[in-house]
């Protein structure tokens, strides 16, 4: 019997034991020790392949929580791994930031907008399957936009919460323009949140029954990314950084507090996820002045509360790797996309747990033999000494992935990952 089939059977038959093994494996790895085997974490943000596998449409996933989210359960049942990371909607953290009094939004979706919430709030940030996008498309799209002018930094800095609430929300959400409409929309959003929380609880219980670790998650941001995503749009943000660096700096200063406030809304959170966006775009000088100091502050404050920190370093982070050494040892998980994990290992060995290393496109274009070979070499080079989680980038297992290739990946980790 193949190793993958053995694990599938074990997670069905003895989920408690498998769960304990998985938790132990992950925590040892984060503590930079050698676990029994290199952990494998796959992702679904959004989970295109999982949807295809379960025969669920993108529309179902975003609009019919219970039915749609079960696709994730089916996915990990048939493709066993150590943990699954997924998002159930599209970024809506600007709302979580504006309404810290309603932690339910962070609790239900970690700050993401679901399909019905998109219909109710009529935000201009996102496009959903079955609405602006074809029904069949598996993934919704976050577009962002420009909802603040360069001249408005002063107002943002003076009173960020009020400025976002009173000025940005009415611009970005069609339904939050006038008082009556907003009241209706917010009441309806509340109803959706409670539905989402119920479905999440039910999925969590299904996952536990298969031996998967489930723990409350919260989200945080680096302030520059927050401004780029929700207020100014990426291009304008990059230009602001050159034209008005002092204003950007002052805005980051005040936003750190709000972002932390948002993250702490999930009182019992165990994990916190911080997706980075502009990191690879910035030259080291700018990164060190406007990006890193605030990201560092966010990370350290979350660490102080005992959270397990997952930072997704989008793109190629190689020019900035050394800065991570300023963080305390085993501060969390550095999840890399295009960064060469061998290089990262050289810089961060004995200091930071590294995640990533498997190129997503190999799942589509490779063969099982090629994949086995790739995993074998990757593990040989990066796993010794511990502190390595094998994974793909955050953007999902692609729709076009062949089942044989994905199984080959899992099997190869089980085969060559033993320490």
């Amino acid at each position: 019997m193949k190793l993958i089939e053995e694990l599938m059977e074990r997670q069905r038959k003895e989920p408690e034991i498998v769960l304990k093994e998985r938790l132990d494996r992950l925590s040892k790895t984060i503590e930079l020790k050698e676990p029994d085997r290199v952990p494998l974490i796959l992702t679904g943000c959004p989970p295109a392949f999982a949807l295809k596998h379960a025969g669920v449409s993108g529309y179902d996933f975003y609009y019919d929580y219970e039915r749609g989210w079960k696709a994730i359960v089916k996915f990990v049942e048939d493709y066993p791994m150590d943990s699954i990371f997924f998002e159930v909607g599209l970024e809506g953290h600007v709302l979580a930031l504006a309404f810290p009094e309603v932690p339910e939004f962070m609790i239900a979706t970690a700050g993401h907008i679901t399909g019905p919430m998109h219909d109710i709030l009529r935000d201009k940030y996102t496009k959903f399957p079955g609405r602006e996008l074809p029904l069949t498309i598996p993934t919704g799209q976050f577009l962002g936009g420009r909802f603040m002018e360069a001249e408005e930094y002063g107002k943002l800095i003076e009173n960020p919460a009020e400025f976002i609430r009173e000025t940005i929300l009415p611009r970005a959400f069609e339904s939050l323009k006038d008082v009556h409409q907003s009241r209706i929309a917010l009441i309806k959003t509340g109803i959706e949140l409670s539905k989402a929380i119920n479905s999440m609880t039910s999925i969590a219980s299904d996952l536990t029954k298969l031996g998967y670790p489930v723990a409350p998650l919260t989200d945080a941001y680096c302030p520059v990314d927050f401004i780029a995503d929700f207020l100014r749009h990426v291009t304008n943000m990059l230009i602001d950084i050159y034209r008005i660096p002092d204003k950007v700096k002052a805005a980051c200063e005040v936003l750190v507090e709000l972002i932390l406030n948002m993250a702490f809304q999930v009182k019992n959170a165990v994990h916190v996820f911080i997706p980075l966006h502009l990191n690879e775009m910035l030259p080291p000088k700018t990164y060190n002045e406007l990006y890193w100091p605030y990201l560092k502050k966010v990370i350290l404050s979350l660490k102080e509360k005992g959270l397990t920190i997952w930072v997704f370093f989008e793109g190629n982070h190689e020019p900035h790797l050394e800065t991570l050494l300023e963080l305390p040892k085993s501060w969390g998980i550095a999840w890399f996309e295009k960064t060469d994990v061998r290089k990262a290992k050289r810089v961060l060995e004995g200091h930071t747990c590294i995640m990533g290393g498997f190129p997503t496109n190999l799942l589509v274009s490779g063969t099982p033999e090629k994949i086995e070979e790739y995993v074998k070499n990757l593990i040989k080079d990066v796993a010794p000494g511990g502190g390595f989680i094998i994974s793909t980038g955050v953007a999902d297992i692609p729709w076009g992935t062949s089942e044989a290739n994905l199984r080959a990946l899992i099997n190869a980790v089980l085969k060559y990952g033993q320490h």
Binding site: Y242, R243, P283
Partner: protein, 215 residues
């Protein structure tokens, strides 16, 4: 240092105020606007080089593009006023393909191509195949450029090339694709003539095509 050199240097240092100020001064002094645009070509080339060497980052490219755009906007009315036209090396129709809204890279490619002397017709983002076809009929370009950063865009590129073929226009244009996620495989799949992950390289390829055609 000559004015030209100082001008180019200020662009490479991303000193927006100084670059615009020199351009203004040069125009006021009655210098040929075409000379200023010629300097932009040199600057754009050096910027691309710096990016390829890892000295410049994407933020630098975006800012350099913004500065060059500002300068072109200053120079253009002056050209008109003098009744001059810049010699157009070629015509490029460009757009981000259907389903894809990423445009930072495409905009850089536009600025660089303009700086190199191309007349650029920018169709924007999420451009359906029909719109590319219409634009080819309307503007009769030498080259069509497609930008694509997401996997679903691969299908759109193929559809666009197919639509161009169907309209009987494929022989009239060269097709280049660009963007972070295109590669040789994407080029083959879509049926394009070239691919690139760098706007500067893209411009070199396009200039080569134009030269080859002239021969």
């Amino acid at each position: 240092m000559s004015v030209s050199e100082e001008f180019i240097k200020s662009i490479l240092e991303l000193d927006e105020r100084k670059a615009l100020e020199i351009a203004r001064r040069r125009l006021e002094a009655g210098e040929d606007p075409l000379k200023i645009l010629g300097d932009l070509t040199i600057a754009a080339d050096k910027i691309g080089e710096k990016y390829e060497k890892g000295e410049f980052f994407i933020a630098d490219l975006v800012m350099a593009g913004e500065i060059m755009k500002g300068i072109s906007e200053l120079v253009r009315p002056k050209l008109k006023e003098l009744g001059k036209v810049r010699e157009v090396v070629g015509k490029l129709v460009i757009g981000t393909v259907q389903g894809d809204i990423h445009d930072i890279g495409k905009n850089i490619a536009v600025t660089m191509a303009e700086a190199a002397g191309f007349e650029v017709i920018d169709l924007g983002v999420d451009v359906p195949p029909e719109k590319f076809v219409e634009a080819i009929k309307q503007y009769n370009p030498n080259i069509v450029g497609m930008s694509c950063l997401i996997t679903v865009g691969l299908e759109s590129m193929k559809k666009t090339v197919d639509a161009i073929k169907e309209a009987g226009l494929r022989d009239r244009v060269k097709i280049i694709i660009g963007g972070g996620r295109v590669d040789e495989y994407a080029k083959e799949y879509a049926g394009a003539d070239a691919w690139t992950n760098s706007a500067a390289e893209g411009v070199r390829i396009m200039l080569k095509w134009i030269r080859e055609k002239a021969r």
